[in-house]
Symmetry: C2
Subunit: 438 residues, 2 copies
């Protein structure tokens, strides 16, 4: 089965909004085993739209439209597509009742234009919209179909999930099951290692690159959800075999979620001490519902005096080793744990730029420390892309990665270990600094 995605709206052609609908629908159609051959965006112009739809209808089994279902004179999609599929529209009192009562609840009056939204296919079907006023529409002629959905992403996605995808699955007499692996590590490296698994017919597998990690989505089409789940699990094993414990979780939105869930499962608490990341780690942790079970204290210590006053970092250590150094990161982590009483703490100090930096500590240098039990682990990073936000985001991700290893009770790889009690000892700090400066 082949499809084309057609987005309708002059605001897209002007670049006023980003077309995220086309990506979403492409992913969903690919998962259904439907080949998307073209995406296109056209304006609200009757003649151009009609010509376009005729040509697309001749090429593809299914046309998926978003946008152009509003009440204004500009909104022409429904009547234009109806005509192309040999259908027409009729007024639907039930839809009109929904629209008028929605307006009444909002304390607003309907205008004659709103009646357009209550027009539904005569031969095709209307598609109920549980999240807005405009119903969608389904047209069909000689086995060729067109589906029309609203342009507002939230409404479109809901209509897709509740109404359109089930119809397509029923047509194909199958069900879909998905499994998402989240993988730590350099993106192009991960993609290279698993490239042989990314061109499969069923299950399909796709990789999406994120900061410091990748997402691998496996989707199986099967007669039952149970069969689909088994197929996904078997295919996931191939990824695990290649990637080992770089796969850190399944079916979560991101690393902060896994950190919070792991801490909760083990009854542990975490605190944060941030300099260059400036609150980014705390913000990601508190973005997870239920974070308050495991996270209570975050210190954003941007100034040296704040590091001293809130975290007990020794000003002489800053003076001696620089504020961007292993010894300072270690004292920050130790201090956050002490000030908050948490089981674990992570700390970040670094140089995000654009200014500052020298030969020893160029922009992009970041030290990350984690305190757990009697240990403090310290790690040095140097991010080469000289971009403030990118450096901060990667540093925050690395700190969460360290937090995860500590929460799992694993000794983090690639870190220098110093005894928590030795974090004030000049010789131990000198050794730490020497080990990480090289």
């Amino acid at each position: 089965m082949t499809a084309e995605i057609i987005s309708v709206g002059t605001e897209l052609l002007l670049g006023n909004i980003l077309n995220t609908n086309a990506q979403f629908l492409s992913q969903e159609l690919a998962a259904l085993g439907i080949t998307v051959q073209r995406q296109s965006t056209i304006g609200d112009n009757h003649d151009r739209l009609a010509e376009w739809v005729e040509a697309a209808k001749a090429r593809a089994d299914l046309l998926v439209f978003t946008g152009g279902l509003g009440p204004t004179a500009d909104d022409l999609t429904k009547e234009t597509v109806a005509a192309c599929y040999g259908d027409s529209l009729t007024f639907d009192p039930e839809e009109w009742e929904k629209i008028t009562s929605f307006f009444a609840r909002m304390g607003r009056q309907t205008t004659p234009n709103n009646r357009k939204q209550a027009m539904v296919p005569v031969h095709g079907q209307k598609i109920p919209n549980a999240h807005g006023t405009a119903p969608g529409a389904w047209f069909e002629q000689e086995g060729r179909c067109a589906v029309l959905m609203p342009g507002v992403p939230a409404e479109m996605k809901a209509m897709w999930a509740e109404q359109v995808r089930p119809r397509l699955l029923a047509r194909q007499n199958c069900t879909l099951h998905s499994l998402t692996l989240r993988v730590l590590g350099g993106e192009s490296d991960i993609e290279y290692r698993v490239r042989g698994l990314l061109k499969n017919e069923n299950p399909t597998a796709a990789i999406y690159c994120k900061t410091g990690e990748s997402e691998i989505r496996i989707t199986a089409r099967a007669a039952s959800d149970q069969d689909g789940a088994q197929m996904c699990r078997a295919y996931a094993k191939k990824f695990y075999d290649l990637l080992g414990d770089a796969v850190y979780d399944e079916d979560v939105p991101g690393l902060a979620h896994t950190v919070v869930h792991t801490l909760a499962a083990r009854g542990l608490t975490l605190s944060t001490a941030e300099s260059c990341t400036g609150g980014m780690i705390a913000q990601q942790l508190t973005g997870v519902p239920g974070a308050s079970d495991v996270f209570g204290y975050g210190f954003v210590t941007y100034w040296e005096q704040a590091k001293a006053r809130l975290l007990g970092v020794n000003p002489a250590v800053i003076e001696r080793y620089n504020v961007v150094s292993g010894p300072v990161a270690a004292q920050m982590a130790r201090g956050a744990r002490a000030a908050s009483g948490s089981d674990l703490a992570v700390a970040v100090t670094g140089l995000a730029g654009p200014g500052g930096g020298d030969a020893v500590r160029p922009v992009g240098t970041v030290y990350i420390a984690g305190a757990a039990g009697t240990s403090v682990f310290v790690e040095k990073f140097h991010y080469v892309r000289p971009d403030r936000e990118n450096t901060r985001a990667r540093a925050a991700h690395a700190a969460l990665e360290l937090a995860l290893r500590l929460a799992q009770g694993k000794a983090p790889a690639g870190c220098y270990r110093i005894d928590a009690a030795a974090c004030s000892d000049p010789a131990a700090l000198a050794a730490l600094d020497g080990a990480l400066i090289l």
Copy 2:
């Protein structure tokens, strides 16, 4: 002049990447006075591509391509478009030299495929790529043009700004000047108020909605930059006349920048105390280069005991009024100022959900406080869309808005004022709570 944007790449049709290039180019072409009539995305398939280009060439004066310039057999755009414009390709030793030396610097070997990237138009022009290995191309036939750029957004944007836009400006014998206004307030409300100014030929004006604010971009085409600047300024005045001081700044990336710049200009410092926003305000402030001049301390006090220990919030006040309340917000702001010694402080406590909430404090209830001089200002918000991230983002934005008013030395509108010294006084706290609970 009319144009179509054609993105080439199977990875776009699979939804593996989001097409941000089309939006960027649509904005840029609109600013140049070029009407984009269609955007389309097609795969790396020779026959489909050729057919598509022939049809598009018949419709539009200019075709703008991104993607398909890589070294693999899949990358067909250049030869296909060349043929459609009656041109062909020839090997360019200078480009080949660039490619081989780039590979040598990376410690890698070129493959025979890489020679494809050194092929350039015979009659048209190559477009130098200062940020990657693949040169772009310009084809022309009977006044109809095609320009080919790489698909990687950073390379494409650089080639556009350095090479393609200047060519188009020279053709149109003009220059471009832009001015961006940043406007506080409800997005649809702002758009409604300025709608009469958004359909202008020159300067053009477009509105982009963001969390808690809008961006209005004014772009003038003129013979000189000076003329363009004057045209933009005159048109901006129309927006100022409609919007007044809702326009908070010009040509900055966002509110945090204006807050940092305003604080710096006035020699003031700010600290933050965050509960439900969990570090988001601090993270936005520290995202601004130079933030360390004005921001040193951020407290993420997610637990009640953290509010008490770090900010001196009275547990009895939490007990009496609830942790999500005006009295607690006021004590948090006062405490952050005291603990950090900053001139100003802002604090947020709220219920981002998804759980919790009752009739008095439903999910989405947020209290924001700002401390300055002898005053603490407190404001209550209720965000109706029940989405954790959206509630947090809007609360952080509202706190920055309050910080801006305090930094400007303005009494913030819509706030309840309490004397800083009265923040421990039971009667004053009761009055504050009563005023904001209603």
